[in-house]
Symmetry: C2
């Protein structure tokens, strides 16, 4: 956030900043989705809906699960929310009693600990390591489990690492018997292999997803989650009290996204796929070691300890001297310190320009190309 703010100040002075810090697709929402919302507004579809969402959208999502993962979810268990953040929050609120522990990875999406805390829980962090491809090491989970453990939270593909969890890892975690909260918001944005939903491994889970990333609908605030059968009613009560209902014409747009915008979504995935290659190649040309290429989301999380152990100092130095904005790894927890997150939600031209600037930045600063010595520092 601080980086983005400073970047905007630099831009206000007339400079071009290359944005590798933004976790939001730059591509426009497909027209076919916009048209559906416009039509719904015109038809007066502007009143409260059922607190759980429009049945047609819930059915479309259930059908999507069948198509994508080959599993059957009753539409009753699909709950529509105003974005995936409220879905995460409602999962925690409905599940946690005061003091319950939720295991999360470190690094992790910045908001997880706060969401857990606001819901009355305590976030317990399990380090994940570059050397292990940022997969979750089940032994470390087991060491962190306590009598207070209520849930384990996973995120695949992951922000900030871009890593897709291996199915055997998801299976092992599921077999521990705890409730799993699976943040699947980057599903669909996978460029090699295939992502898995938690429901392929256990029913004792909440899967959280939304339309923001795959359909480039961030501002629309449309998310959803699938809840265990006995959580439908508690979640409904929470939604009624805190949010009343999601937006009707935005829900209509969601139906159009699933039913009519598959082709548009695939085209966007292709664009991200090209950018990903360009970004990884560029970062490697700067000397960054990328041990295992991230296969999903739109992030590359690189070890920059060779440049500076303190990622925030480094990010600000890069921004001031080269006008390239990146997110410091420390924003994602202590386990992210020394890393930088490069987001490829920007054009191929900007990726090239950004890499060029960083190359000059390293030359001017008399910073040697990185090598394994640095990496192991």
């Amino acid at each position: 956030m601080d980086v983005l703010e400073r970047a905007k100040e630099i831009e206000a002075l007339g400079n071009k900043v290359i944005h590798f810090e933004i976790g939001e697709p730059d591509l426009p929402t497909p027209k076919i989705i916009c048209d559906e919302a416009i039509e719904a507004i015109r038809l007066g579809d502007t009143k409260y809906t059922s607190s759980l969402g429009i049945p047609e959208l819930r059915e479309a999502i259930a059908e999507d699960y069948r198509e994508k993962y080959g599993i059957s979810i009753p539409p009753d268990r699909v709950v529509i929310t105003s974005g995936s953040s409220p879905a995460l929050f409602l999962s925690m609120l409905s599940l946690l009693e005061r003091g319950d522990e939720v295991i999360i990875t470190d690094p992790h999406y910045s908001c997880y600990p706060q969401i857990i805390q606001i819901a009355g829980g305590v976030a317990k962090r399990v380090r994940i390591y570059e050397e292990e491809g940022f997969q979750i090491n089940i032994d470390n989970i087991k060491k962190t489990v306590s009598k207070k453990t209520k849930a384990i939270m996973i995120n695949t593909p992951s922000n900030p690492t871009g890593v897709v969890l291996e199915p055997n890892v998801m299976k092992e975690i599921s077999e521990l018997g705890f409730c799993i909260i699976s943040d699947e918001i980057y599903h669909g944005l996978v460029y090699e292999g295939k992502e898995h939903t938690i429901y392929e491994f256990t029913d004792k889970a909440f899967s959280v997803n939304g339309f923001s990333k795959l359909y480039s609908m961030t501002g629309w605030r449309l998310g959803y989650f699938v809840v265990p059968d006995d959580f439908i009613r508690p979640v409904q009560k929470l939604q009624q009290n805190l949010f009343i209902s999601p937006n009707p014409f935005v829900q209509r747009a969601g139906i159009a996204a699933i039913k009519k915008a598959k082709r548009e979504a695939n085209e966007m995935v292709k664009i991200f796929s090209e950018r990903r290659k360009k970004m990884i190649k560029g970062l490697r040309s700067l000397g960054f070691k990328i041990r295992s290429e991230p296969k999903g989301a739109f992030y590359v999380f690189v070890n920059a300890k060779g440049l500076n152990d303190r990622s925030k100092d480094l990010a600000f130095d890069m921004l001031e001297k080269s006008h390239v904005a990146v997110t410091p790894g420390i924003d994602f927890g202590y386990g992210g310190e020394g890393y930088l997150r490069f987001s490829y939600t920007t054009s191929i031209d900007d990726i090239e320009e950004g890499i060029k600037r960083l190359s000059e930045y390293m030359k001017k600063g008399n910073i040697q190309p990185l090598n394994d010595t640095y990496q192991n520092k």
Copy 2:
């Protein structure tokens, strides 16, 4: 909720139900507001905004405070939310520590106790009485104050009573020195006299409002609240973590509402004003005593103890036998037991038809017209 569900079942069998139970304007959102949203979607205004909302909307709201109440609020203190419910929740979350008490009236809007509880607080109820015009009796507030009291919550015009708080009552409450959370969502829907915002009396307050009622924008999910200066940053952090940002094109629609839809809002107020007269007259013709006419919102809250002390039984009996749906007073707390809430969010014709049916219902059930004996039961 149960009443509405049963009403829908009855309708599904081909019957016409008269809906006096719905707390949502039946009128369409004014076209000029819809057009602005459509234009914004067309222009691609579909990305995250600042977590506090679009500056132009925050400024328009501040300007609205100046025009309506003659008071100056810095736009910095205006926070946009996805509906007024999240604004209420964020007020509570940012203010309360675990176990803090919030004083609310009884009867009250159904969701208040839950919102307070989810935010970690405890709702303490203060009865308000028909005999006192459903105004708040400051002596009863004083009796309920404890060491744990953190805030007093008010709602003017009120759901379910339709009563506009007297300015001297608001002044007295403010002078107690506690933080006031003032739910002002029905502001603008006042048919006699004038409503007051809490900021006319104290700065130690959150005022919560939105576009749902006055502009008939319930489904849009657009609300806002004004926060004390030292709460801007805490509220922003909560919003970032839980909601990221409100919807951009819906915010554009909000700007249009304030700047361009005053005339349309006034026309809707006139319509509600006519319906209110019709409803009050009709209820009186049935024998209901309405001691002081409700002057705001779109509710009449009547004492029906002469028909049945148990408001839920009565509401269901009326629904089954006359196909008129009303909300039982018990839904608004024990202080509402024995009352019924009649909402006039329906046409003049339906109001006439509903009153006619209830007259027959009372005749058939051999229920005598109500009189003061019943009222005092």
